[in-house]
């Protein structure tokens, strides 16, 4: 009798262990590309949001443009001009022009100062942190007085760009304007050790830059 009970118990256990749970089928939300999911619901994007999303996506794709940065420190303005021509770029400051090239993974850095050219190899690795406005998300902004204003909860997203260089910095304000297709300009105030720096970035000459390297290509 005992042996029989154990056998029955064993059979029952084998039977139970071979049972599979029926998968729980959850409801999958699939929003359209003019909607956004919020708390499990698809909310229609506004026209402005769609517009901004397109602007940011377009801007993310540009590889040929000029970027002029004007930084105001203690009421003195300094300009930094950057030019991008696909796999060639240049950054011009008061003293020199730095060129960067990437030909199939071979990266070089050229410095031109007082007509002297210094060439060195460069690190090809991309650090996304430095891509700044190319990482913007349209949900970070609201339209205020005709400009896109960064939402307070997203200030840390912008601060990330500056944090490694200025660990004690904090963003005070950020606004942006756009053309039909691209970001036009950005104006931000950055506090560094109780001093406010005003930084203005202007994007222009999209697909019009023809960068000639010093000493020829």
């Amino acid at each position: 009798m005992k042996k029989l009970s154990v056998l029955i118990l064993l059979i029952i256990m084998i039977f139970l262990s071979s049972c599979k749970k029926e998968p729980v089928i959850e409801d999958v939300i699939s929003c359209t590309d003019i909607q956004i999911e919020v708390d499990g619901e698809c909310i229609d994007l506004t026209g402005q949001q769609i517009q901004l999303r397109n602007v940011l996506e377009n801007t993310q794709e540009i590889t040929n443009y000029e970027l002029l940065v004007t930084i105001t420190e203690n009421e003195i303005e300094y300009e930094i001009m950057m030019m991008f021509d696909d796999n060639k770029s240049a950054i011009q400051t008061l003293n020199q022009i730095d060129y960067y090239t990437d030909y199939s993974g071979v990266c070089e850095h050229l410095v031109v100062m007082n007509e002297v050219i210094i060439i060195s190899s460069a690190d090809c690795n991309i650090d996304d942190t430095y891509l700044f406005f190319k990482n913007f998300d349209y949900t970070w902004f609201s339209v205020i007085d005709g400009r896109y204003s960064l939402n307070q909860e997203n200030y840390t997203d912008i601060e990330e760009f500056f944090l490694e260089t200025f660990p004690s910095s904090s963003l005070e304000s950020f606004t942006m304007s756009a053309t039909e297709a691209f970001i036009a300009d950005m104006i931000l105030e950055l506090s560094i050790d109780d001093e406010i720096y005003i930084i203005e970035l202007v994007i222009s000459s999209i697909d019009q830059v023809d960068l000639v390297l010093p000493g020829g290509e």
């Binding site: 060639k88 770029s89 240049a90 950054i91 008061l94 003293n95 850095h109 460069a122 760009f161 720096y197």
Partner: protein
């Protein structure tokens, strides 16, 4: 036992008295206030004190400014003024200080005092030498002159003036020619001699003598038209007769400059030659009464600026170790009873400060002392008796900065090879100026905003504060076989603030990231 205790108590009382008393047989200083500060190695002490001279007690405000220029090559004494080109002039001490700072980019004034006595136009009574240029040999009153040599030595006494000389310098400031001038406003008496005409005598200089016409950048003639100084550049030369041009000089000699030693890039100086112990002084200024000689106060003044009367006074003293110091004493303050000192009392005060030599400078309303503060402003330390600083003729100043070197005399004709200018000039990421070395160079001269810096190598650290600078470089030769190159073109270089440089580096990273696929 009581006696011993009292003696010990008395001893401690005297030694620990809060007002230290300088005890001399005739003179005592008992100060109620005394402060001392050091600015860039120059000591300033101010005392409000009761002085007792031979039983007479008076209140005095005394300011002392001094440093040892013989042991610090970057601390020097210069003279300064507010003289116009083609004339003289006066200015208050801070105006003169601004002139000194503007004239010499290699010096920065720390502080100083008024100097010599002067006429209403600002003509100094005694000799005045400014950066080797003898602007005046003095009016012949035979007073004391104080001179400062490049090695830090101070000389004092009566210089020897041995007649006029013509000096010709090239554009680098190297001497090309030094010849005696026979006379002023006269024709030379022989073919080998030269004379110089100034504008104050408008008479025709006859032909058949070579005349080198100089456009003068500065002419100094004394109030009586008897003493001359001139400086300028070549305009042209001729054998024709002519009148001396206004703001010009004419060097006259039978065949003078036919070899064209003087060129358009040179400058010439016409001045009295200063010699004796004053040979080679870079700066010199007049003084009057000798207050202290060999550590002993003058007992009797045969002349002087009212030596027995109380006035505000200024004096210069030299210590045994070479320290030079200036002293001002306030005076003519009848409300607060600061009447000033006699020359006798001033001598004792100079001894109090350990002078072995001391001289009285101009005093009265001219007495002024100024010193730079932490905000780089010049502040008057004394209370000028006019109620405001008086416009004076000149002054003496302690400066921070090295003298510019005196260049070796250049040969004529100059057959030395001119060196190439440095090329491939750039500034690296560490802020070092770099350029290619030049064959046969001795050293390099880096000129930053008008100030020259010597460099033995073709790399030079730019330890500059944030700002924008103009930089030029020239190659220096040994001056025997090789002469200096000209300067490179100006390079404008900006030193960013630390944060701005960080922004630039950040955007370089952006640029680099954007470039790579």
């Amino acid at each position: 036992m009581m006696k011993k205790i009292l003696s010990i108590l008395l001893f401690f009382l005297v030694v620990n008295s809060p007002n230290f008393t300088h005890v001399e047989s005739l003179f005592r200083v008992n100060y109620s206030e005394r402060t001392t500060e050091y600015i860039d190695g120059v000591r300033h002490t101010k005392m409000v004190a009761m002085i007792n001279y031979d039983g007479t007690e008076t209140n005095q405000t005394i300011n002392y400014l001094g440093t040892n220029i013989s042991t610090h090559s970057d601390l020097n004494i210069v003279v300064g003024d507010n003289y116009m080109n083609y004339g003289w002039g006066r200015g208050d001490l801070n105006t003169i200080i601004n002139n000194v700072n503007g004239r010499y980019p290699n010096y920065g004034v720390i502080g100083g005092v008024n100097g010599d006595f002067y006429s209403a136009t600002g003509y100094p009574v005694e000799a005045y030498v400014r950066n080797f240029e003898v602007l005046s040999p003095g009016l012949g009153y035979e007073r004391t002159v104080i001179g400062f040599l490049d090695n830090g030595e101070t000389v004092f006494g009566r210089p020897e003036f041995t007649g006029y000389e013509l000096l010709v310098f090239n554009s680098d400031g190297a001497l090309k020619l030094n010849v005696p001038i026979e006379g002023i406003n006269m024709l030379p008496t022989s073919d080998e001699l030269i004379t110089v005409y100034f504008e104050n005598i408008q008479e025709l200089i006859i032909g058949d003598l070579n005349k080198v016409i100089i456009n003068a950048s500065d002419i100094k003639i004394d109030d009586w038209g008897m003493i001359f100084f001139g400086k300028g550049e070549l305009n042209y030369q001729t054998n024709d007769e002519l009148l001396p041009p206004l703001q010009g000089m004419v060097i006259v000699g039978k065949d003078f400059n036919e070899d064209e030693l003087i060129t358009e890039t040179d400058y010439v100086v016409v001045q009295q030659h200063i010699g004796g112990e004053f040979e080679g002084v870079r700066f010199a200024i007049g003084a009057w009464e000798e207050l202290v000689k060999d550590g002993v106060a003058t007992e009797y003044y045969s002349e002087g600026a009212g030596p027995s009367y109380r006035h505000p006074r200024t004096a210069i003293g030299i210590k045994e170790d070479g320290t030079v110091f200036f002293v001002t004493i306030d005076g003519r303050d009848y409300i607060n009873n600061f009447l000033g000192v006699t020359a006798y009392e001033l001598a004792e005060i100079m001894l109090y400060f350990d002078a072995v030599q001391a001289y009285n400078l101009d005093g009265g309303g001219s007495t002024t002392m100024s010193l730079i503060n932490d905000e780089s402003e010049y502040i008057y330390l004394n209370n000028p008796s006019d109620g405001a600083p008086r416009a004076v003729a000149n002054g003496l100043f302690f400066v921070k900065g090295e003298h510019l070197p005196v260049l070796d005399k250049v040969p004529f004709p100059d057959l030395r090879e001119i060196l190439e200018i440095p090329t491939n000039v750039y500034i690296d990421i560490e802020g070092n100026l770099n350029f290619d070395g030049v064959l046969n160079s001795d050293s390099y001269l880096i000129n930053i905003d008008g100030v020259d810096y010597d460099s033995s190598s073709n790399q030079y650290p730019l330890d500059d504060l944030p700002g924008t600078y103009s930089i030029m470089i020239k190659t220096r030769g040994d001056q025997l076989d090789y002469k200096d190159s000209i300067y490179t073109e100006v390079i404008i270089y900006t030193v960013y603030t630390e944060n701005m440089q960080k922004f630039i580096n950040l955007f370089k990273e952006y640029t680099k990231s954007e470039t790579s696929d």
